[in-house]
Amino acid sequence: MELITVKDLSLQNEGYFAFKHVTFSLTQNQIISIVGDSGSGKTQLLSTLAKLKTADSGKVEFTPGVRIGYLPQFDPQVINKSVRIYLEEIRQLSGTLAVSKEQLKGLIAFMGMSPYLDRQVRQLSYGLKQRVNFLAAVSGHPNVLLLDEPFSFQNSKYTSNMLEIIKDLADNGSGVVIASSTQDSSITNYFDANYIMKNKSMEQVKDKDKEILCMLIFTVKPDSMALTTEISQYLSANVSSLVELKIPLGMKDAIIKEMIDLNYQFEGARILEG
């Protein structure tokens, strides 16, 4: 079932397009990723979907009864309450449909916020505030979750935990939109659809699904030469004499040959799913 349908949506700020002609739809159980450079209009688009801005043209249709959870990329609100009280209040705002008190406690522990429960939100670092705001956004058990740069200031552990929570929400019928300026290749598997914001417009990245990637592993020998610029662009990891290259499958043979010419020991290859 479609939760949000966006048709030819455009927004201007003081004569400049924030975004234009955006068309897409978000369905239940779907996680959408929007990637774009700073200033490409991601935040403005999410603000519009969160009903904080009114578009100049186009239409956003919300399925009746939709509950939106929104994580802004930066919330300037000065919160003088403790994390415990603040999150409990936000949970109660969503009424009976929100997660239970016990579930919220579990989510807080999962996101590593238990030691900070009695600290005032305004005293926390940016990273911790981001986690509090993420918990606030999911505590209402929304069926549409809009996340603007959710992984900023987070290490891989909490990024992974956030993704687990997001995946769980999506598996239980919610739709999720995640906007970010960069995207780690390790998290792309979570997304059902990928969009890119370019020139203020949004395009779906269709080829990405079709493109099969392959990981090549080499060990460095004492006489190995420096990697060429062409090969360096595929470098995934270079740790403890081990070089990993992530390449399109079609280039596999050519790259192996070139690496052997540069005196690297080929150890193996594996296909990357999704």
């Binding site: 969160a50 009903k51 904080l52 009114t54 939106i68 300037p76 003088n80 209040e89 705002l93 606030a136």
Partner: protein
């Protein structure tokens, strides 16, 4: 629940940078020294209180709306009810103005033995403050999309509010002007607090009209 959260957030916004307590204490200090400094009679003193509470509530409301625009950008999304949010904003400022009116009147040492007179005086001060709240609400785009139009609106409305009844040219549109100076002139002519009741009611209605206009004009359409 929403009402409690909104009220606590808005009270925080009002007190955030200490402008309101500073203004209130400065006003009270001025009141305490006013008698010996200026040797005013009751009607002049009440005129001072009217002008003072008007400016104080205007500045407090402007400061609140500025803080709200600056810090509560995403707060309304959590409440997801524009009119509840807006009504609670107005209600919070009305309550703060009423509190100011009571404190200011108590410190003016103009208390009479007739409780009705005291109540009318407090009500007159409070409704004058409400007009300041209304003007701040009407010009609130100065903190958003229309900074210059909003500021010019404040200057113009404060001018006609304080000088309106002394400009003959504006006599024909006096119903359109903020009835603040009218309150002072009526009190000076009648020297009876009870004579202020119609003007106080007029001020209350005027403030409500300004606030309703502001709420309707600047309504955030929560759909596209």
């Amino acid at each position: 629940m929403k009402v409690r959260i909104l009220l606590s957030n808005f009270i925080n916004s009002i007190l955030q940078n200490f402008l309101y307590p500073t203004l209130l204490l400065a006003f009270l200090a001025f009141e305490l020294t006013m008698n010996s400094l200026l040797d005013l009679n009751t009607s002049n003193k009440f005129g001072f209180l009217i002008v003072g509470i008007f400016l104080m509530s205007l500045l407090t409301s402007m400061n609140f709306l500025k803080n709200d625009a600056q810090y509560n950008e995403y707060f309304m999304q959590k409440i997801s009810n524009y009119w509840l949010y807006f009504i609670m904003q107005a209600l919070t400022l009305f309550l703060v103005t009423l509190f100011s009116a009571i404190v200011v009147f108590l410190f003016s040492f103009m208390l009479s033995s007739d409780i009705i007179v005291d109540l009318v005086a407090i009500m007159s001060l409070a409704t004058t403050g409400f007009v300041g709240v209304g003007i701040a609400f009407l010009c609130k785009p100065q903190w958003n999309k229309h900074p210059y139009a909003g500021q010019m609106g404040i200057i113009l409305l404060v001018y006609v509010a304080l000088a309106g009844s002394s400009i003959d040219l504006l006599h024909y549109v006096s119903w359109f002007l903020p009835p603040v100076s009218q309150m002072i002139t009526i009190f000076q002519e009648q020297t009876s607090i009870r004579a202020l009741i119609p003007t106080a009611i007029q001020q209350f209605v005027y403030a409500c009209v300004l606030i309703v206009l502001s709420g309707t004009f600047y309504e955030k359409k929560l759909s596209n």
